[in-house]
């Protein structure tokens, strides 16, 4: 469950909703607002702090870290995890490298946002 909170915050920082240096909601505030337990949010903040996306100053709460590229790294780590999973599944199916490439291309073609000229869906 804390992974959801981590993903949410990462996405908002990436999208620019939360600028570097901006104060994050307190743990209790975020917990109450999203209806999850305090300890879950706490754990998510700890994880984000370890990843360098946010910084916690004693008595002042948590802030978005000054280097937002950390968020990118975090997302890239997430992508890597997903790709690892893809590779494992492909191995179970016995797909070779070329077949996997083709499958990936098919998915890229099918995804509507892959071609910027088509515009994004609302």
């Amino acid at each position: 469950m804390y992974q959801q909170i981590v993903d949410q915050i990462t996405a908002r920082v990436m999208a620019g909703d939360w600028a570097p240096g901006q104060a994050l909601p307190s743990i209790r505030e975020l917990a109450a607002g999203s209806g999850v337990s305090v300890i879950t949010v706490k754990r998510a903040y700890e994880e984000l702090e370890r990843a360098g996306l946010i910084a916690t100053r004693q008595g002042k709460g948590s802030f978005v870290a000054d280097r937002p590229d950390q968020a990118r790294q975090l997302l890239e780590a997430g992508l890597d995890r997903a790709l690892d999973e893809v590779v494992t599944q492909a191995a179970r199916l016995g797909l070779d490298r070329q077949q996997l490439h083709r499958r990936l291309d098919e998915h890229l073609d099918a995804a509507p946002s892959s071609n910027p000229s088509e515009g994004s869906q609302s």
Binding site: R28, A32, I39
Partner: protein
Amino acid sequence: MIPAFAVQSLSKRYPHFALEDVSLSLQPGTVMGLVGANGAGKTTLLRLLSGLAAPDAGTVEVLGHRLPEAQADARREVGLASEDMRLYRGRSLDWHIDLVRQIFPSWDDDYAATLVRRFDLKPQQTLGGYSHGQRVKALLLLCLARRPKLLLLDEPTTGLDPVARLEVLEALADVLRDERRSVLFSSHNTADVEQLADRIAFLHAGRLVADADKESFLDQWRRVLCLGAAPPTLAAWPEVAAVRSAGSQVEVRVRAWREDLSDRLAAAGLRVERVDPMSLEEIFVTAVRTGGAA
């Protein structure tokens, strides 16, 4: 800091059931989910914590009040709602509000009005015309609007439709904003506990089998999928809770996961395919089926 509650070596014996040697406490600002099968002793524990029952052995302290001696003082600061509690069918919600606000000086009129709107209740209608969900929400409103320091809730979401359940959970989440207020709630719906609780207390057959913060509790459990033949001794490993074989696949449910377990499984002739965290639901079922050793 005075704990929200603290019980020591608590025992309560009934002719066909006994709660034995329970020690448990809750820090202020924390939400504790009380998990256990029917007849595990959740209701008995809540009755002891609200001072309605006197223990046969051990001590109960709630918000610094010794129970059951100071039960009235304690219940002034405790909001208690249980599944078997009903309001007066022939009377309106307004009438109940009027009664409760006269008893509790901490009653918050504005918050009560907010909750009436949020729960979509008709204050002048008699409770007899309310649906089950509306009655549960009315009861909860009467508890919440007095802003108790400790909420003791027995099955607050049982029998609610998904919308009403969400409304109730959101109202409970509101309590989290105040770090001096605490909640203990029992639920058959482990998803509610998983979502809202900071701590988990696990009762089985009248005994407390686990008491831990939720994330570390969940973290200890894993479902490990392996290929190969399970050695007969595997089920007896102390960290293994359950083993199930289907063809060449072996599912091992682990109650105390450590990274080195993968290697030990490999050494026992099992190839680890994947390691997944378990939901509280799965943990609950596994623990209850294997005799409660969580």
